[in-house]
Symmetry: C2
């Protein structure tokens, strides 16, 4: 199953909106075939593995990181192909939370007399598809918020200067984080100030593309309540789809009418501008698994306060920049430490000269 | 040598002002005797090991984490005892930087026809006695500054509430850090506000005292330019020596005249009050190896700006407490990221729910 997970990871940047899935066929203690899912519409992992195994699949054991599907989607149901191949046993890391599957794949296999084992390396399998699972189980994407700060908790000088707080290794990691996300959310303020591309730069990912499929560019989402973004801004000239979430009235969207890559969506407003809940609901309806928020202190705080951030990725640079610099979040001081916004440490590692801290909320 | 270092660590909290030293005697690939230095005035590590080895030391190899001394101090020179014991070979992790030794121990052994190897696990040996080495090589102690902060870089609410930002595990680590320090430096403001004991609480150290000698209470140093500290404050009622560094005139020290554990020392003043350089110079003259600064943003910043901090120990709690809370350092904003106070990441680890980051400066 470790091998199957490794194969599944090859699709980390490319399977969306599908889950990443890997599969191996083992016979007489030897791996005789491998497969992984590369992109939506393409064969599922099991199909590739069975194609490679051919007649040898008979009486073999198949290891797969997600329950084989039982429904006709873009491809026929895998459970049926698995059963047809004459396998003796199927080992599954986790049940598919997709209501169209949800145990029916397992039931089908069992009904065909195949021994089925479920729950091997389940934690790792869930981690790999945290966004897909979130969308299936909670009806909303898994939302990460990424911040880069100095050791004294500042994201930029008061002038806005923030290039670069962190080093190359951390910035490469952010590229990988973008590449695995289905959508990147930012605010028009960040665009006006920094004019970022927020695209995925393959050459900065520090990834061996012999072991990963090339990324599919994530959807970029701009929260722009009063439609201040302009077509010549970098983010809007780079290839890839852009979605502008606004609270402005319809008629003001004329500047975007002839830009095919840009869609303007009217969303509910809240005190801070575009309502964060409405944005996440909209992304859920677009089959977005993993969302990355890369924005300023105000927008990040509005998502945090709305309880919409699942993970906080904080890169800490070995620098002190002083006290009038920009804060991490636009948060009012809590009245007591008991009432602090509590996070749960998930992961710590060094990344070049920087440190990456990953927290879960709630 | 690994074993010898392990033995040396037993004296982590007790050898000051001496270095921590461990020693093993090996014969026919077997450890036949061990020794470690426990406290000043007591036998050195080599002497203990040789006492245990007795006549078996003849033709054996001795591993010791620091060059055997060549001078008469509180005890006779170890190099002579080592030579007398009839050892064939002596393996030394590092030369003793003490100018009274500085290679003379090695030269003496070699002159007696003993094979001497120097530099085995030297990095680890240096790390263990970083303060002693600093005092010998640079003429000043190794200075650590410890801070506990929320993820958004705040050490306390604006009300001063800071109990507790970090959890039990991090607080236990601070106890160990205190226990290994020769002196703890704080400011009168911290004492007035928090009324801390700044003593070492053995029961909170989470240390097995079967493997460590009990701590000798560190000297506590209060920077108190105008002599505002009062005898009833906790720090002053707990056992152990206290040194008050002041810039006030002599006659105002009457309140301390009858408190035997308290010494008042007049030091140079600087913009911030007591001059940090003068404090460190004073501690150097008192054979202080490792200093721990536990103080507010202002005092910490004054030592930082004076270039006197060697290591920054920052405990990061999984909390956000908001933006009007207290800053890590009283530092003006830098004018450009190029001019940020640059640190070098030395160590990262999680500690319960908190993270410990250790940086070196300069």
């Amino acid at each position: 199953m470790g091998k199957a997970l490794e194969l599944a990871r090859r699709g980390l940047f490319s399977t969306r909106p599908n889950p990443r899935v890997g599969c191996v066929v083992v016979k007489n203690d030897k791996v005789i075939a491998e497969g992984w899912h590369q992109k939506a519409g393409d064969h599922h992992a099991e199909v590739y593995a069975l194609m490679h195994a051919g007649a040898d699949a008979s009486d073999a054991t198949l290891y797969v990181t997600l329950e084989p599907c039982s429904h006709y989607g873009k491809t026929p149901p895998c459970a049926r192909s698995v059963a047809k191949a004459g396998l003796k046993r199927v080992v599954i890391a986790m049940r598919d939370p997709n209501p169209l599957v949800a145990g029916q794949g397992i039931a089908y296999l069992q009904a065909q007399g195949i021994e089925v084992i479920v729950g091997v390396l389940e934690r790792e399998a869930r981690e790999l598809n945290v966004g897909y699972i979130s969308r299936m189980e909670r009806g909303r994407p898994w939302v990460r918020c990424k911040l880069a700060m100095s050791l004294d908790g500042r994201t930029a000088l008061s002038s806005g200067e923030s290039k670069w707080i962190t080093g190359e290794s951390a910035r490469g990691d952010v590229q990988r984080l973008r590449a695995r996300s289905c959508a990147i959310v930012t605010g028009v303020g960040t665009i006006e100030h920094d004019n970022p591309s927020m695209n995925v730069r393959h050459d900065q990912m520090a990834v061996d593309f012999n072991h990963y499929a090339y990324p599919i560019p994530p959807l970029r989402v701009i929260l722009d309540s009063r439609l201040r973004a302009l077509p010549q801004m970098k983010l809007l000239t780079h290839p890839g789809e852009v979605l502008i979430a606004t609270t402005a009235a319809d008629h003001s969207v004329s500047k975007w009418r002839d830009v095919p890559s840009v869609t303007v969506v009217q969303t509910r407003s809240s005190a801070a501008g575009v309502d964060p809940d409405a944005v996440i609901a909209m992304l859920s309806s677009r089959a977005i698994n993993e969302v990355l928020i890369e924005a300023g202190a105000c927008l990040c705080a509005s998502f945090l306060k709305a309880g919409l951030i699942d993970e906080l990725w904080v890169y800490v640079a070995p620098k002190l920049i002083g006290n009038s610099s920009r804060n991490l979040f636009d948060l009012a001081e809590v009245d007591s430490l008991q009432n602090a916004h509590q996070l749960a440490l998930h992961e710590v590692c060094s990344m070049g000269d920087d440190v990456r801290l990953v927290y879960k909320t709630g």
